[in-house]
């Protein structure tokens, strides 16, 4: 039996497969398809202080192996969320990672305070890919100082036993610098990655396909970028736990993120095409590990950073159909 337990900043999760913020609402709809308590955790849609209508439609466009979305953080506001969504998750027995989003440092601090002592809360994910109204709408996650401000405010307002993860945007020149700023400000770990800024023009109307003009690109299309971000950040700070995400579709994809340095993974866009995917992925990952004779999940975390084992001297002449060139794909 493979030990799938993973520990994020001191908190134990029975397995490393989580949902991704904004791709599972608050778990209730997916609970129709599988038992959400068998997930490592449910990561809830980023919640803001007040109710938000979100943007106008069209809010999505399918792209090659990906999709764009521009939802605009539609949600009921923190109070309704606590009463209806977090309460449901707690009562259901699921582990909840609550994602929070704000327009100012103050917003984030107040959100963290509202979460204090709530049953069911395992961890906070701080979505900093939001425009900062106090800085001409500049996205927090694009600036180390702004990111640091948010994270230190959230950390200060959160009990020590609840890990605070900063969720970073890949749309930056140096993701390691942002990661370091968040960790220095008190983040216990990092979630990598949020969507890439993208755009589709509808060639029929000859105008942007989304009402919001640009949107966030997600899905397998971005997986190589996500794996690179996890790799770079783990390389720079091997002791900081990472929650990896971006285009995970199979157990082998999940393993890729673990090998790059993630301690757990979120499954996002894939759920739209395959609502039972998180359970399938968990099963496939377990199989991948046992196929490799790996008894404990934590033994593969960051493994790809270690030099390849000095393996048995190469067989000079294995005749078959698995040529050496295959190492490359």
């Amino acid at each position: 039996m493979t030990d799938l337990t993973t520990i994020l900043a001191g908190v134990r999760f029975p397995n490393p497969v989580f949902t991704a913020s904004g791709c599972a609402a608050a778990g209730r709809e997916l609970d129709q398809f599988f038992d959400v308590t068998s997930l490592g955790a449910v990561v809830t849609k980023s919640i803001m202080l007040d109710a938000r209508s979100g943007r106008a439609t069209p809010r999505m466009a399918e792209t090659p192996s990906g999709m764009l979305n521009s939802i605009g953080l539609q949600g009921p506001g923190i109070d309704a969320f606590l009463d209806h969504d977090l309460a449901w998750l707690a009562q259901r027995g699921a582990r909840a990672v609550v994602s929070i989003a704000g327009s100012s440092v103050e917003d984030y601090a107040r959100l963290a305070s509202r979460l204090r002592g709530r049953p069911g809360l395992s961890m906070i994910e701080v979505n900093i890919s939001c425009p900062n109204v106090e800085d001409r709408g500049q996205v927090f996650a694009c600036d180390p100082r702004a990111s640091s401000g948010v994270l230190s405010a959230v950390r200060k307002n959160t009990p020590a036993e609840i890990p605070v993860f900063a969720k970073l945007s890949p749309d930056v020149t140096d993701i390691v610098a942002i990661a370091a700023a968040c960790v220095d400000a008190g983040a216990d770990g990092l979630s990598l990655i949020n969507t890439l800024l993208g755009m589709v023009i509808d060639t029929t109307t000859m105008r942007p396909a989304l009402a919001g003009v640009t949107g966030g690109l997600s899905g397998p299309a971005i997986r190589p970028v996500a794996v690179r971000c996890v790799w770079q950040v783990h390389q720079a700070m091997p002791d900081v736990p990472l929650l990896g995400m971006g285009g995970i579709r199979t157990g082998s994809d999940a393993l890729e993120f673990l090998l790059a340095g993630a301690s757990a993974v979120s499954v996002g866009t894939t759920v739209f095409g395959d609502p039972t995917a998180p359970m399938r992925i968990l099963g496939e990952l377990t199989q991948e590990l046992s196929d490799r004779g790996i008894a404990r999940l934590r033994d593969v975390i960051g493994l790809a950073h270690r030099p390849a084992q000095p393996h048995v001297p190469e067989d000079p002449d294995p005749v078959g159909d698995v040529p050496a060139a295959r190492r490359s794909s």
Binding site: A25, Q32, S53, G54, R59, T269, F272
Partner: protein, 282 residues
């Protein structure tokens, strides 16, 4: 409680300009009510298309030789429906359903009018059967661009007390739109309730005609959907709640069937300023 089923394609048949696809999907028929829809995976395992396509459920058979089949009617529109149209018997198809909120049925025998545009007739035909089962009189109005885009005319003729057909080009039935003939149908039959499914501009016109006459109307809308199961928030439209406040409501869960008078038809594609949580405009 929707199911995800990897079923076998039984047949794909041309019907006029449309395709009628039958798939074996045990468990789904029993749960289906008229107005429910399916979300269908397209493109195969290494496809670049990640999202399911939504189709109204047309016919279901609970039992029979294959242990439950589901049928839907579709127009080839883009890449996903092109792929669907090239399915052959025995290919596998992954479907999720039944999804959404179906048509609500009257509890007493009333006079019902059903208005379908193009393939929008697909969910109305089983609805007609269900209404008849409750002792309702059913009048049907079907419209389309041209004769080949009318679906289920024969079926409708059999089920309905009366059938009126319109086409934009006059290739069959009356030349014109369903809204050209609907007022007369409503008056002649003293219609108590209207059900409509079709393109959004048609639904809007029908909704308005019903509102003017105080006739309750249910419409099945069609918005772009990424997930179809309520987790992504892409499929919203502005709808008035019972508290009189407008919210951006998910058409995949709270719809696709809505009470027509609740939908803010003029504001679709926008966030009306009085929506709950609307951005504060300076």
């Amino acid at each position: 409680m929707p199911l995800q089923v990897s079923g076998e394609v039984l047949s794909v048949r041309r019907v006029g300009a449309y395709q009628l696809l039958t798939v074996i999907a045990p468990g789904i028929p029993e749960l289906t009510r008229p107005g429910h829809f399916l979300a269908v995976q397209v493109g195969g395992p290494e496809s670049s298309m990640l999202l399911r396509r939504a189709f109204a459920i047309y016919d279901v058979k609970d039992r029979g030789v294959y242990g439950g089949t589901v049928e839907f009617v579709f127009a080839v529109h883009g890449k996903g429906t092109a792929w669907l149209s090239s399915r052959r018997p025995q290919d596998r198809l992954d479907v999720v359903g039944p999804l959404g909120t179906p048509f609500r049925l009257p509890t007493t025998p009333v006079q019902a009018a059903l208005v379908g545009g193009g393939y929008g007739s697909a969910p109305l035909l089983p609805l007609a059967g269900a209404l008849r089962g409750r002792g309702c009189r059913v009048d049907i109005v079907l419209g389309a661009g041209s004769a080949d885009r009318l679906f289920g005319q024969l079926d409708a003729k059999r089920t309905a007390a009366s059938l009126v057909v319109t086409t934009d080009d006059g290739s069959t039935g009356q030349r014109g739109r369903v809204s050209d003939v609907l007022p007369e149908v409503l008056e002649k039959n003293r219609t108590d309730v209207v059900y409509a499914c079709g393109p959004m501009p048609m639904l809007r016109a029908v909704a308005q005609q019903c509102a003017e006459r105080g006739i309750p109307c249910q419409v099945a809308v069609e918005e772009s959907m990424a997930c179809g199961i309520g987790v992504c928030m892409t499929c919203v439209l502005p709808v008035l709640g019972s508290d009189g406040r407008t919210r951006m409501v998910r058409s995949c869960v709270e719809g696709p069937v809505f009470l027509a008078e609740r939908v803010r038809w003029e504001d679709i594609g926008t966030v009306p300023a009085d929506t709950v949580g609307a951005p504060v405009r300076p």
